[in-house]
Symmetry: C2
Subunit: 192 residues, 2 copies
C-alpha cells in the first residue's frame, strides 16, 4: 500500500543500505534517517530483510536491463551500451558507491537466506539475459564462436562486479575501463 | 607488544570482520567475542580501524603470494597455483566466507580512509606481482603477446574478486571454475 511514510522509510533504506551496508544499518537508523517513529516501520514492513528485498527489486528495475533486448542495436553494441550505462551512473556518484548487488553479496550470509536467494536469482536472470545476447551475436558473426555463452556471461558479470568493487577503492574509472577493453575484447570476433 | 589478551582481541576481530563485516562489528562485539573487558581493547589498539589494518596485513601475509615468485614453476603454472591455493582455502570454508580484501572493499568509504588506502596498496602490490609474472611468461612464449601486462593483471585480480563475491551467493565453486577456465585462457598462448 502506498503512503508517504512508507515512501520515506523506503528511500531512507535505499540510501543507507547502499551507503553503510545492510548489516551495519539497523531499523532504528532507517527510521531516524526517514524522520518517522520506529513503530511505523512495522506498519509497512515485516522485517528489515523484507525491506531489503524490495530495495533490491527496485535497484534491478532501475538498471535498464531492457537495453540488452533493444533490437535497434547489434548484439555486441547492446552489451557495450549495457555496461556503459552503469559507468555513466557510477560517474554521477563519483565512482564511490559501487553496486548494491555487489555490496549486498559481500555481506551475504546464512543469516539472510531470503536476501541471498534474491541476489542469486537476480544474478542468474542477468546472466541468462546476457547469455542470450551472446548467442545472438555468435549467430551474426559479431561475437567469437567457441565460447560457451552461459559460462562467458557469468564470467563477464562476475568480472564486472569485481571491477566495480575495485572502483570503490580507487575512486576512478580505470577498473571499469579495463573491463570494457579486456572483457569486451573476449567477445569481439574482430579482436584476436 | 605481545600478550594473550591482545592475541584474543586480534583473533576475535579476524573472525568477526570476516563473518559480519567491518562496519557491523563494533569494538563491543569484538571484546565480547574475545571474552575480555572493553577497556583492555584500548590498551592494545588505538582504533578499530587500526586493528583492521593489522588484520588485513595478516590476511595478506597468509595468502602465499610467494607462490608467484617460485622459480621451480613456469610463469603460467605459478599463476594457476596461486589462484588454486585460494580455491582450496575457500573449499575448507564451504565456499561461504569470501575474501577479506573483497569484503572490506565492498564496505570501503570515506569514513575509513586508512583502511581504503591499505586496501588500495595491497591490491596494487598484488597486481604488480602478477604483472611481472605475466611479463616473464610472455618472454618464454607461454603467455600471449599483445597483452598489456599491467592492465591484464588488474583485470584478472578484479575478475577473481568478482568470482569470489559470486561464490558467496552460490556457495559453490562454479564462479571460481569459470574464472580458471576463461580467465586463465586469456593468458595461455596455446589457447585461441
Amino acid at each position: 500500500m502506498a503512503s508517504p511514510t512508507r515512501d520515506k522509510i523506503f528511500a531512507a533504506a535505499q540510501d543507507r543500505f547502499h551507503a553503510v551496508g545492510y548489516t551495519a544499518c539497523g531499523v532504528q537508523q532507517i527510521v531516524d534517517a526517514a524522520g518517522v517513529p520506529k513503530g511505523s516501520f512495522y506498519n509497512y514492513f515485516k522485517t528489515k530483510e523484507g525491506l531489503a528485498l524490495e530495495v533490491l527489486e527496485m535497484y534491478v528495475a532501475s538498471s535498464k536491463r531492457e537495453i540488452l533486448s533493444n533490437a535497434a542495436l547489434s548484439p555486441l553494441a547492446r552489451i557495450r551500451e549495457h555496461f556503459g550505462f552503469f559507468i555513466s551512473r557510477y560517474e554521477m556518484d563519483g565512482f564511490g558507491k559501487g553496486c548494491l548487488i555487489g555490496n549486498l553479496s559481500a555481506e551475504s550470509s546464512d543469516d539472510v537466506p531470503l536476501l541471498r536467494e534474491a541476489l542469486k536469482d537476480s544474478l542468474s536472470t542477468w546472466a541468462d539475459l546476457l547469455s542470450s545476447v551472446i548467442v545472438e551475436g555468435q549467430a551474426v558473426g559479431e561475437i567469437k564462436l567457441g565460447l560457451e555463452p552461459g559460462a562467458m556471461a557469468r564470467f563477464l558479470i562476475n568480472s564486472w562486479e569485481g571491477a566495480v568493487l575495485r572502483m570503490k577503492i580507487t575512486n576512478d574509472r580505470r577498473p571499469l575501463d579495463d573491463f570494457m577493453s579486456i572483457g569486451m575484447g573476449l567477445l569481439d570476433s574482430k579482436q584476436a
